[in-house]
């Protein structure tokens, strides 16, 4: 029996319960997802975008679903510490796949801004956006998520609103038995809206957890959205994370993804620059060791003229870890004056660590400027020796060089407090003082 079959069987048996907890838009999308899964199944390694992540194996364990929609008996606001010092955020929790609504955050939201469970949000608003971008092309993981997801969060920024504080969403996977969680996140920023969103991913590591998450981000004309996603989970956690971003004309999106600790992680990031002058930046830092696997697969679709894209991903891989990066910049016919820059650099700190890097360009317009490059190597031995000659111990010298390597990505993070916090966490990670999700009581 394939891994998929057990979830199809589960859906056949429990579909009604599952639909009972969800909103109309989510239920309406299930039929097509089911048909897709029956026809195409899960992605295999023959699929270029899943070459380094074995989805079949990831889904093989007999994970349970949280059909009863129970929450662990803890108050995340009290038990959980995922704070960035001196940074005030509007803080929301999603425990497993249940949005935590017992309490509201301390920092109030500006007028008109909504952060709500999809199940409680305006059905017309959800229906207008839900699965619109994610459902455009078939992806087995997205289809499975669409079939099984019961709830999620809506973040809505009406036209012209400016968030004074970042919205912080903390996802926690905490379970006593093997659990699969299927989350949705829908971010809608209308024309001219501006805001920073902070996404934190945690897992308690008590048992095996698998999270599929589909995030859709709709960025209206002239809107400016920053997303900072920080992953601090455990070796017991698998993340299959698909992010779809749709950008209208003159919009700006910057997406910073930092993987500090994890088990196995795959991020799919699809950006569609669908209006003249849209601009996106995606940056990533990956620190992995042990048996960890991290796979970032990006596609940036220049569908309109005069758009710019900029990608910078840096990996430091130690132990037996595996890091993969694939980036495709697609410049469609008519997308003249496209500007694109794509860089992936990897350091294998141990000979047993492996890095795979595949930057790609596909260009159907003739007046464009696109650069791409990638490197895989060791730490610079001559720099290491230079530092040791000045008396800096080898271990410390390695640490400083690794930090400088990823610091080149982190220095671009616009939010100063977050930038400092991440630099600190990365340093702790390199020092071995951040083995897994050390941030909160719940995870300990």
């Amino acid at each position: 029996m394939s891994s998929l079959q057990q979830y199809l069987d589960l859906y056949a048996a429990q579909g009604e319960t599952l639909c009972g907890a969800s909103c109309g838009a989510m239920n309406a999308a299930r039929e097509a997802a089911l048909a897709g899964l029956q026809q195409h199944g899960l992605p295999t390694s023959r699929n270029e975008r899943y070459k380094y992540t074995d989805v079949e194996a990831a889904l093989a364990p007999d994970y349970g679903l949280n059909l009863r929609r129970t929450l662990p008996a803890v108050d995340p606001y009290k038990e959980y510490r995922c704070a960035v010092p001196h940074l005030s955020t509007s803080l929301y929790f999603v425990v497993n796949d249940v949005p935590y609504t017992v309490q509201t955050p301390t920092a109030p939201l500006p007028e008109g801004v909504l952060v709500q469970p999809l199940s409680q949000a305006d059905p017309a608003l959800v229906a207008a956006y839900y699965n619109r971008e994610a459902g455009r092309k078939y992806d087995g993981v997205t289809a499975l998520n669409t079939l099984l997801a019961q709830d999620g969060l809506l973040v809505y920024l009406p036209a012209g609103t400016v968030l004074s504080n970042p919205i912080q969403i903390v996802n926690v996977a905490a379970a006593r038995a093997d659990l699969m969680v299927n989350r949705r996140l829908l971010i809608v920023a209308e024309e001219g809206a501006q805001g920073v969103i902070l996404l934190c991913e945690h897992a308690d590591g008590q048992s095996r957890t698998l999270a599929t998450q589909v995030t859709e981000i709709f960025v209206g004309e002239g809107a400016n959205i920053q997303v900072n996603a920080v992953e601090e989970t455990t070796e017991q956690h698998t993340a299959l994370d698909n992010v779809y971003v749709h950008q209208a004309a003159a919009s700006h999106v910057s997406y910073n993804g930092v993987t500090l600790t994890c088990g196995q992680t795959r991020h799919r990031l699809d950006f569609r620059l669908d209006g003249k002058g849209a601009d996106m930046v995606a940056r990533g830092v990956v620190v992995a060791d042990g048996q960890q696997r991290v796979d970032n697969s990006l596609v940036v679709d220049h569908a309109a003229p005069s758009c710019t894209s900029d990608m910078l991903y840096k990996y430091v891989l130690d132990g037996h870890s595996v890091g993969a990066f694939a980036g495709l910049v697609l410049v469609e016919k008519g997308a003249q004056k496209s500007l694109s820059q794509q860089t992936n650099a990897n350091i294998c700190a141990a000979p047993t660590a492996r890095a795979f890097s595949q930057p790609m360009l596909e260009i159907y317009a003739d007046d464009v400027k696109c650069n791409h490059g990638s490197t895989i190597g060791k730490l610079d031995e001559s720099a290491l020796f230079y530092m040791r000659q000045r008396g800096i111990p080898e271990r410390e010298a390695r640490l400083i060089l690794q930090q400088a390597f990823v610091g080149d990505v982190l220095r671009h993070i616009e939010l100063e407090r977050l930038r400092e916090r991440l630099a600190h966490l990365v340093e702790m990670r390199f020092r071995g003082e951040l083995s897994a999700c050390a941030g909160c009581k719940m995870c300990r």
Partner: protein, 250 residues
């Protein structure tokens, strides 16, 4: 201070040093000369413990300690400093952080507390001025975007901050214009004390003029073949190395 006995060393399996003997006393400045490929830089790198070079025979004693048994960082703490012929660029590591890490590692080695922020900044400023490096270099990455001359000044600046007992200047004068050479040489002279010594590799008379070395050694094919005072250096400047080679062959 330093005693090198019958030193043999190779790099990538090729023997470069073939029995070097050299003694350097406290407070002395020695100049090492020799044709290209004679082993001057190899000797420098062996002294500071570069792992690319393999010592196959011989011994080095530094202030009574077996130098070859020490790691590069411990050799640095014991007081050995090398001004690199080609200083390395380390993007993303600021000069300030680099110097703080180096200084505090040394202090830790001697059981001292890390240096206070105020004291550290004062020290950097004082030493910067010695070699004429502007303040903005301190916030830049180590040697990142420095010109050739700035890199060499930066080496002497680091030497001034770390206050080594024994300094190796590996062609610190190369690539410097006359003014920069004077600043570097004067900076070096100001750092001299009766307790500190140096081994200077140079091809230029001007450096001899400034440093007034106590001894000059000539290295040919991995051996010290001729020794003398500063006048030997001037003789080489005038006549080249061939007459020494001929003498050796006789």
């Amino acid at each position: 201070m330093l005693e090198i006995r019958n030193l043999h060393a190779s790099v990538e399996g090729k023997e470069i040093l073939r029995g070097v003997n050299l003694t350097i006393g406290d407070g002395e400045v020695h100049v090492l000369m020799g044709p290209n490929g004679s082993g001057k830089s190899t000797l420098s790198h062996v002294l500071v413990g570069n792992p690319k070079y393999e010592v196959t025979e011989g011994s080095i004693t530094f202030n009574g300690k077996d130098l070859l048994s020490l790691s590069p960082e411990d050799r640095a703490h014991e007081g050995i400093f090398m001004s690199f012929q080609a200083p390395i660029e380390i993007p993303g590591v600021s000069m300030t952080n680099f110097m703080r890490a180096a200084l505090n590692a040394k202090r830790k080695y001697f059981g001292q507390e890390p240096i206070g922020a105020g004291e550290f900044l004062k020290l950097l400023k004082e030493k910067r001025q010695l070699v004429g490096l502007d303040a903005h270099f301190m916030s830049r990455g180590v040697n990142e975007g420095f010109s050739g001359g700035e890199r060499k000044r930066n080496e002497i600046f680091q030497m001034a901050v770390l206050q080594p007992l024994f300094s190796i200047l590996d062609e610190t004068d190369s690539g410097l214009d006359v003014d920069a050479l004077r600043i570097v040489a004067e900076g070096f002279n100001m750092l001299r004390t009766p307790q500190t010594s140096a081994m200077v590799i140079t091809h230029y008379q001007r450096m001899l003029d400034y440093l007034k070395p106590d001894f000059v050694h000539v290295l040919v094919k991995g051996r010290v073949v001729k020794e003398g005072d500063a006048s030997l250096g001037y003789a080489i400047e005038e006549r080249g190395f061939d007459w020494i080679r001929e003498e050796v062959e006789e």
